[in-house]
Structure formats: structure tokens, C-alpha cells
């Protein structure tokens, strides 16, 4: 399908030119957009090809129909309206109905269906065994990410080695969610009672944004995550950092913060590995993200906020305004404790 690839930019130009030209002037580099039209992995590339094929066919048919419509209009208008109605001869145009209404769709269906099945087979049967297995659990409204072999648990951030197929096993802890990274692959639902999986692969190092695609309640809009594709070395480095338990606090403020973390009840929902935590029953449904390496992540709150002190301060103290309905409650700790807690959390690298 190389010819398709060759013409896809022409196709894109035509597609976009139907909008105001100004729309494309938005100053965002393409890699920032979670767009299926900018595929960054083999599966997404096949799907984009399928799209351009169908778009081309569809555009042809649309133009054909519109052209016929205007031709018929100009002919029919010339005929003049005042002549008497004709209820006979209802079938003079029937051969066109059969050609246009039956044969044309059949050809289009044959092509689209054939290419769809081909694409489906190629996308589903990725060559080679997956190099990495990752379990992803959808929760309201964030993603728990677990590397079973290494014993790493993190949240809203999936690190993968570039150029290798990675199998993502998808499970839901509560309601139905859907895992979607448009630049890498189509979506797959996380359905309670089902164990679904999807194999993704990134061709280039980069950060690819994903988002929940099945309506899952109040904060469905803020249930994002990042897939971070890295070179092998960077990936290994990340892994070896993540398997470590949390460092003990370096300064006094952070040490105070650790006390706040334990005494104010954060530990009831959040794990920090290495912290001598209490034997608390974390019922599966209200579990909060593992915070062992919180400060190493790029985002918090379901990839809706950059992970920095400012956002963390607001999130810890006033989560219900930052992300109304989130299962993280507002915490009522005094200002001084807040400073300590922030220092502690930001030290969890």
C-alpha cells in the first residue's frame, strides 16, 4: 500500500482544506496531538492507511452523488414545473437505481471489507512475542499500571521500550473503561468479568497521550495517561529506579512530611513502598495510586495536571475543586503540615 502512503498528504491537505485555512495554524507540534492521523506505531500506521483508503473512496462517492444531484437539478429545473404530473413511467430511471444503488455500494463494500479484514489480521497478529507484559487496571478515574515480572506499580504512566511489541492486559476494578492511545493503536474496553489485552508498539521515542474512551462517570474527561516510549537503556534505567523502595526523607521538612503522610491518613489509600506502613485493608474499590515514586512521574490526577509543587498543593488540599467527584477527598491539614507534606511528596523520586 505504498501508493496510499505517497498520496496521504495530498489527501490530508484536501480533507483539511475543507475547513478554514486558519484552523491548521494552531501552534501545536504534531507530536502533541493524540491523533490517529499521526501514527507512531505499526498498528496505528495500518489503521491510518485503512482510513485514507476509505476516505478516498468515500470522497469519490460523495463527489459523484453531489455532482449527479446538481446535474439532475439543472435538468429538472429546465423541465419547468407547471406541466401536469406524470404518475406513469415510474421506471425510466430504474437501471440507474440498480447501478448506483446496488452495484456501487457492493463494489465499495467488497473493497472496504476486504481491506478491513486484511488490516484486522495484520494488526491483531503482530510478529514476534511481546517483549514486555504490563497489567493495566482502570479505576475511577485513573489508571493503575503494574509490571508483574519486575514488581513495579505506578499510575497513569506506562513506560515501554521503543520498537518492541508490548502486551497490555486490561482489567477494570469498577465500571467499564476503555484504553485508547490513538497514536499507537485503536482502543480496547476494560470490562468487569473480562480479561482483554492489546499489543502496542512505538516506533519512535516519545510521549503518547491516552485517554479513557468509555463514559465512566463524573471525571471521565480527566482520566488520561501517558505512554512513554524510551530507548532500551533509558527504559532499563527507569525500571531499576522504580523497583527501589522509597528513599527515606533527606531533610527535616520532608521527614515531618512523612509523619504527616502517616498520621493524616494518606496511607489508608496510598502505598509508599519502604515506608513502614500500617496493616490497612485497602479495599480494591477505593484504592489510590501507589506513590512510591510520585515525583518521578510527569503528571498527577489522571494525567490532567503537571506534577509540580503548585499542582500537588492544590490537589492535596482541594482535590474536589481540581477534579470534582474524584475519590480523593479534600484534606484538612494545617498550612505548615501542608508545606512538610509537599516537601515529602516531591522527594519521592
Amino acid at each position: 500500500m505504498n501508493w496510499l502512503k505517497r498520496y496521504r498528504y495530498a489527501g490530508a491537505a484536501f480533507f483539511l482544506s475543507s475547513l478554514l485555512s486558519a484552523c491548521t495554524a494552531a501552534p501545536i507540534s504534531p507530536a502533541n496531538m493524540p491523533s490517529m492521523l499521526e501514527p507512531q506505531g505499526p498498528a496505528a500506521a495500518r489503521l491510518a492507511e485503512l482510513w485514507w483508503l476509505m476516505f478516498g473512496l468515500g470522497a469519490l462517492i460523495f463527489l459523484l452523488v453531489v455532482a449527479l444531484m446538481f446535474a439532475a437539478l439543472s435538468r429538472g429545473r429546465r423541465a419547468g414545473a407547471d406541466s401536469a404530473a406524470d404518475s406513469r413511467g415510474g421506471d425510466e430511471g430504474r437501471k440507474w437505481v440498480i447501478r448506483g444503488g446496488i452495484l456501487l455500494p457492493m463494489i465499495v463494500i467488497a473493497v472496504t471489507f476486504g481491506y478491513s479484514i486484511y488490516t484486522l489480521a495484520v494488526v491483531e497478529n503482530a510478529p514476534g512475542d511481546p517483549a514486555v507484559h504490563i497489567n493495566v487496571t482502570g479505576r475511577r478515574w485513573w489508571w493503575e499500571v503494574n509490571y508483574p515480572v519486575e514488581g513495579i506499580t505506578t499510575a497513569n504512566e506506562i513506560h515501554i521500550p521503543v520498537g518492541k511489541p508490548v502486551q497490555i492486559n486490561l482489567e477494570s476494578a469498577d465500571v467499564i473503561h476503555s484504553f485508547w492511545v490513538p497514536e499507537l493503536h485503536g482502543k480496547m474496553d476494560l470490562v468487569p468479568t473480562r480479561l482483554n489485552s492489546i499489543i502496542i508498539q512505538a516506533d519512535q521515542p516519545g510521549v503518547y497521550r491516552g485517554q479513557c474512551a468509555e463514559f465512566c462517570g463524573l471525571q471521565h474527561a480527566h482520566m488520561g495517561f501517558l505512554v512513554i516510549a524510551e530507548s532500551n537503556e533509558a527504559y532499563e534505567e527507569w525500571k531499576s529506579a522504580q523497583v527501589q523502595p522509597a528513599q527515606s526523607p533527606a531533610d527535616e521538612l520532608a521527614a515531618d512530611g512523612q509523619d504527616v503522610f502517616v498520621s493524616q491518613g494518606c496511607v489508608f489509600c496510598h502505598t509508599v513502598r519502604g515506608l513502614e506502613d500500617k496493616p490497612v485493608d485497602r479495599s480494591a474499590i477505593d484504592l489510590g495510586p501507589d506513590l512510591t515514586h510520585l515525583a518521578s512521574r510527569q503528571t498527577i490526577a489522571g494525567a490532567s495536571l503537571t506534577a509540580n509543587t503548585g499542582n500537588l498543593a492544590g490537589w492535596v488540599s482541594d482535590a474536589q475543586h481540581v477534579k470534582p467527584g474524584a475519590l480523593m477527598p479534600n484534606t484538612y491539614i494545617n498550612a505548615q503540615d501542608l508545606q512538610a507534606l509537599l516537601a515529602y511528596l516531591m522527594s519521592l523520586r
Binding site: C23, P27, I28, M33, Q339
Partner: protein, 151 residues
């Protein structure tokens, strides 16, 4: 860098919207010119403020996460109530209920809140002076109808 860097920033320089509604903008500027002539509460407006520094101030406010605690008109997602709302900041008499509302004080407060009032809820975020200056410029600028279109 990647998408994070442009949170809050990209749409602000989005010229297209101006074009779509240029007519309204023209009317809006006339309206806002009239509105600007009222000096509110005698708070001095910082001199040598450009449209660019106001806009970059808004970008910084978004990137530092100010909106997670404060309600700030014009900054996407900034509707939190942990800290005081920062709308029409030029009408305020005091900053943090402690120091006079002057441009220099505001810049200092943004940079070092814990130094000015140790143990208060606002954390040090490591803001540089230039950044704080832009943020102050943003907080002091009087919103016009232009801002409504620009959000």
C-alpha cells in the same frame, strides 16, 4: 518538549479566533478602551507592561499549577478554592492579608511566600523574578472583552 509544556499555553496565542470574530473584537476594543479609563482603588498599574508579558504571565500561571489552588480568570482549569480567588487583583488592598498590594510586593510574594509568611499554605514554587513579573502583570491587567474571546 511535549504536550505538557503547552498546557494552558497553546490556545492563548491562537490567532485564528481573532479572525473568525474580528468584527466583535473591533467593537470590544472600543468598549474596553472606555472601561480602562477608570482608575480602580488607586492601585498603580505596572508600567511597561506589554501584551506579550501579560500572556506569558498567564502561561506561567498555568504551568506552575497556580490554578490548582486559586480561581484565576483566563487560566484553563483554574477554578479551585483552596486559596483566595485572584480575579480583579488590582482592586485588592493587601496581599495574603499581610503586605500592601504593590507590584514589587506581589513579585516577592510569588517568589518567596514562605519567607514572607513562614508556614502559610502557599508553597515556594521556585519561580524566577522575570516569571513572577509576568505573572504580576497578568494579575494586574484589567480584563477586557478581548480576554473573553481569548480564553
Amino acid at each position: 518538549m511535549h504536550w505538557l509544556a503547552v498546557i494552558g499555553a497553546s490556545h492563548m496565542t491562537n490567532n485564528m479566533i481573532y479572525r473568525v470574530i474580528a468584527f466583535f473584537l473591533a467593537a470590544g476594543s472600543l468598549f474596553s478602551a472606555a472601561a480602562c479609563s477608570n482608575n480602580v482603588n488607586g492601585v498603580p498599574e505596572p508600567k511597561s507592561v506589554t501584551r506579550e508579558s501579560i500572556e506569558s504571565g498567564r502561561v506561567f500561571m498555568a504551568n506552575y499549577g497556580c490554578g490548582s489552588c486559586h480561581t484565576i480568570p483566563g487560566v484553563p482549569g483554574a477554578d479551585s478554592k483552596a486559596g483566595p480567588p485572584l480575579d480583579r487583583f488590582f482592586e485588592r488592598m493587601y496581599i495574603a492579608g499581610r503586605i500592601d498590594n504593590t507590584a514589587d510586593n506581589l513579585i516577592q510574594w510569588i517568589m518567596n511566600p514562605q519567607e514572607i509568611d513562614p508556614g502559610n499554605a502557599m508553597p515556594d514554587l521556585g519561580v524566577t523574578e522575570d516569571e513572577a513579573r509576568s505573572m504580576a502583570a497578568y494579575l494586574y491587567h484589567k480584563p477586557t472583552i478581548l480576554d473573553w474571546f481569548q480564553r
